[in-house]
Amino acid sequence: MRLRRITLQHFRNIAGAELAFASRRQFFAGANGQGKTSLLEAAGFITALRSFRTADPAVLIAHGQPEAALACELDHERLGPTRVVIRLRPGSREVSCDGERVPRIADYLGRFPTVVFTAQDLQLIRGAPALRRRWLDLTLAAIDAGYLAALQSYHRALDERNRLLKLGGPPAELAAFEHPLAAAAAVLGVKRGAALAELTHCLAAAYGRIAAAVEPAAVGLAPVAPAADADGWRRIYADGRTRDLRFRTTLAGPHRDDLEFTLGGRSARDFGSEGEQRSLMLALRLAQADFFQARSGVEPVLLADDVLGELDAGRRERFWAAVGSARQVLATGTRPPDTGPDDWERFRVAGGAFAMEASGA
């Protein structure tokens, strides 16, 4: 898909902006805090009605305003020219497609894929397991309504079981909630396994192009899931009851999964150089884009938030070659791009306002 026009109203510090895009390359330059990341945040919001910066949609509404609104006009492979409008009020969000209200988010997921590259992506390798789980959950939930439903059921059942554990819950009640917990765990396990196989395939290809390396990159669950189906998970939860009662929380399950990135079979966190880790994260985001495209049949829009400046010239060149010319890229930075495609449409961002600069300047 291609983003042709984006309109924002009372979105963070952007009082009102309407930007039209003619090409597949847009660059937003400006100091920090001026609104360039907020623009990417708004563009990314259409994918799963989530911000890549915050879990609290209330902060997206400009201070003192009753609501924020964003509208995107897109050229879409399946839907043709499409206009998506999202209105955010405290505690509610409303989406419409071509003037028609979208009542269920499950019907909407997967239609408008975007992939965000951020400067914090290195934390996916170096940081806590929760960050990697969150990335995997968001990646799958953004395009698979069945995954989102299983994830919500799983956490609901987990909260109920953990509440019982804190109350010293009787075995019959624990067993009752382990039933839906195990069923959801099995769905998550199967879907995560299938997605990681696809993602590894895409990651190895993208890493090869960006790092010009021979050692194959891979991502997988580490350790591998201890159960393959609902019966297996039920046994694990039942066997863990005594321990879980002692710790007053559920210690095993997909909510404890971790991912490991490897290069040539060795842990990228422990053995990868800084340059290799940076290349790997760029490759991961490209793999995510390929994965979205394979699953949805829609070309994702890439949103690169302040990541291109940190790359050396060779990597930057290979990165653009790997992105290809078909995909649209919206990028931000403090300085305009010195290399890469020369058909950038450039915007200067200051105080929540956007001004287009003459091309080729």
């Binding site: 059942a157 019959a172 909630f177 839906p180």
Partner: protein, 198 residues
């Protein structure tokens, strides 16, 4: 001290589904617009408070010991459809698709909401199952985590020997809403498509 009008409005506001504005509208309607309705309403409330109770067998609303369904000899009490709330039972009755008995749990298990087995109408169900008159249980609880857990809990409470057949409906019903928001045709086909539950 609040005025009589304010007290009425506050009482109304605490009813489910009513906010400040709708409570105000109701209070004004009863006191100003249609005051002639008030005595009949007060009488109906007092009468219902005096006579309506839970059926001792199934938990449905009743005016005697047994509700009209439990007292109806033409209904097959060996088949028991387990529902969460009285309106679920009413939805089955409206559909006309079902001629057995019911059991109303008045809720579902949810530790997070402080609902345990003791808070549900389970003792009466255990008693019905223990006397051997029940041949089949149809679990018509909501198709969510708490509904599923409650179904599983119930099957653990069955008398040993496997004399009671247990089935579950809910597949094809609107998710979240469950029985209550399904139309008659959907309820009828859900009943026919009920699956053995283990």
């Amino acid at each position: 001290m609040a005025s009589a009008y304010e007290q009425l409005q506050q009482q109304l506001k605490q009813l489910p589904g009513l906010g400040y504005r709708s409570a105000e509208r109701l209070a004004l309607h009863l006191l100003v617009e249609k005051p002639a309705r008030l005595p009949a309403l007060v009488q109906a409330l007092e009468e219902a408070a005096r006579t309506v109770r839970r059926c001792t067998r199934c938990g449905n609303l009743a005016e005697g010991d047994l509700c009209v369904i439990c007292a109806d000899a033409r209904r097959d009490q060996a088949v028991v459809c387990v529902v969460e709330h009285v309106p679920d039972l009413a939805a089955f009755e409206r559909s006309g698709a079902y001629r057995g008995g019911y059991h109303v749990l008045h809720g579902k298990l949810s530790p997070m909401h402080g609902v345990g087995p003791a808070d549900l109408n389970l003792a009466a169900l255990t008693a019905r199952l223990a006397d051997g008159t029940v041949r089949e249980l149809i679990l018509a609880l909501s198709n969510d985590v708490e509904g599923e857990a409650t179904c599983h809990f119930l099957t653990q409470q069955l008398p040993p020997g496997g004399t009671v057949k247990v089935s579950r409906i809910g597949f094809g019903l609107p998710s979240g809403g469950g029985v209550l928001y399904a139309d008659s045709v959907t309820l009828r086909s859900a009943l026919e498509a009920r699956r053995e539950y283990s």
